[in-house]
């Protein structure tokens, strides 16, 4: 029969080579479609660093700014509030901010900030992403008889202190994240860009 003339080795080699090359082509053709789901130039432009004026934020107040459509809390903490932070440590999950993904290096300290009084955190609960309430006063609260001021998430009762550090025994697993930011001058911060010395 004619079968004997067929060079099976050659046939197999050609088929495999072509299949591999064709496979590479298919993968390359899929890449643009996957990439088209990345944030577009418009989304990136809307997510560009924002410079905000903090001169009007009085001591003890919180103002929320939008950066990449995320709520960013900027809090001007009082001396009293700052004094409470140390004593809370035994009740916290990660008091030393050991999880390096939750803040830049320059905010890995007790106040989780560049300047002690100014807290800058992304106001989304690390549990399921609700926006926590700002409950600044040092007084007993229904959810915590020993409340020293902080953030309380209405969705599933997670609590954070005034540095955004999460309490133990609540659903949220991590501290509130600190976005990259720096002080342009005494009254302006730019959110989204690291300080020059840190870069």
């Amino acid at each position: 029969m004619a079968n004997e003339v067929v060079d099976h080795g050659r046939r197999r080699f050609l088929t495999v080579t072509t299949a591999v090359v064709g496979g590479v082509g298919v993968v390359a053709a899929v890449v643009p479609f996957i990439k088209s789901w990345e944030p577009s130039a418009r989304a990136k432009a809307a997510g560009a660093p924002v410079t905000v004026d903090i001169s009007a934020i009085d001591a003890g107040q919180k103002v929320t700014f939008a950066w990449r459509s995320l709520p960013v809390f900027v809090v001007n903490r009082t001396k009293d509030q700052l004094a409470q932070l140390k004593g809370l440590e035994p009740r916290l999950l990660d008091p030393q901010s050991s999880n390096t993904e939750q803040q830049p290096k320059y905010a890995t300290n007790e106040t989780r900030s560049i300047k002690p009084e100014w807290l800058v955190v992304i106001g989304l609960c690390t549990h399921l992403g609700c926006v926590p309430d700002f409950v600044p006063d040092i007084k007993p609260e229904p959810f915590d008889a020993n409340w020293k001021g902080g953030f309380y998430c209405p969705c599933h009762k997670s609590r954070y202190d005034l540095s955004g550090r999460v309490f133990s025994g609540v659903p949220a697993p991590k501290n509130l994240p600190v976005p990259p930011y720096h002080f342009v001058d005494d009254t302006h911060i730019q959110i989204g860009v690291d300080p020059k010395e840190a870069g």
């Binding site: 004619a2 050609l14 072509t18 432009a45």
Partner: protein
């Protein structure tokens, strides 16, 4: 067989290489060619500078972001923000002219159009020739007319560079009105006629780019895609040839 295949492939490629450029140029029938080269980065940069100095006062590029211009033209953020961006927009924002629409209407009779897509709608040749064809015409409300786009409402924005052109009319004969025969420079500008042609070519090049910023990436990616497909097609042919030996033997 392989020889026949290769020659067929070469013929197809050759035909395409010859015919595609004819279709690649956009529009502008019957006008002298602008001779733009959208891959000429220096030309693009000069064109951008002209646009932002002479055009953006009235015309927007609402689909074009400053940041995109910077990355595509090889300029830094600082260069774009201090040398080109006079509208006070942020780096990532599009180029929007500050001219209030109402006053534009009173001055020119209509709103100056957005120029993002001008090169695709009208053609680069049109833009180039239009910019070279302004002449003084006291009968028009703004004192200017244009041979490529008669009764245009725009005065010559580049008159400082080009100088002033006047029209030389043919003599009116019975049944035929007098028409503009040619344009003559009555007062020279800051550029020589040759320099001005170059400048308007740069401007047309920049608008060719703004009409389709993807053009730069498109062509450079395209070369690799075509080469890859040529290889793949050749391999597929070899596979087909190999398997079809069965069929030919069987006949």
């Amino acid at each position: 067989m392989i020889k026949r295949y290769l020659s067929a492939m070469a013929l197809a490629l050759g035909l395409f290489v010859v015919t595609v450029p004819a279709f690649a140029q956009e529009g502008g029938e019957g006008l002298p060619s602008a001779g733009t080269n959208v891959n000429d980065r220096a030309s693009l940069q000069r064109g951008a500078k002209l646009f932002f100095n002479y055009c953006v006062g009235c015309h927007s590029l609402k689909y074009v972001r400053y940041s995109r211009v910077a990355s595509d033209l090889g300029l830094s953020e600082d260069e774009v923000m201090s040398n080109l961006n006079f509208t006070g927009a942020k780096f990532g924002e599009p180029v929007i002219s500050h001219m209030p629409a109402d006053s534009a209407k009173t001055w020119f009779g209509k709103e100056p159009p957005d120029l993002s897509l001008e090169a695709r709608a009208k053609g680069v040749d049109f833009i180039f020739n239009y910019l070279n064809s302004f002449y003084l015409d006291p009968s028009r409300p703004v004192g200017w007319n244009n041979t490529v786009f008669p009764n245009a409402s725009m005065p010559n924005p580049l008159w400082e560079l080009q100088g002033l052109q006047v029209a030389v009319h043919s003599e009116a004969t019975p049944g035929h009105d007098s028409v503009v025969e040619k344009l003559e420079l009555s007062q020279p500008g800051r550029m020589t006629p040759e320099e001005f042609k170059g400048a308007t070519r740069d401007l047309a090049t920049f608008l060719e780019y703004t009409a389709e910023p993807a053009v730069l990436e498109r062509q450079s990616v395209g070369v690799w895609v075509v080469l890859f497909l040529a290889l793949l097609t050749f391999l597929l042919y070899l596979v087909k040839h190999e398997y079809w030996k069965d069929v030919h033997e069987n006949h």
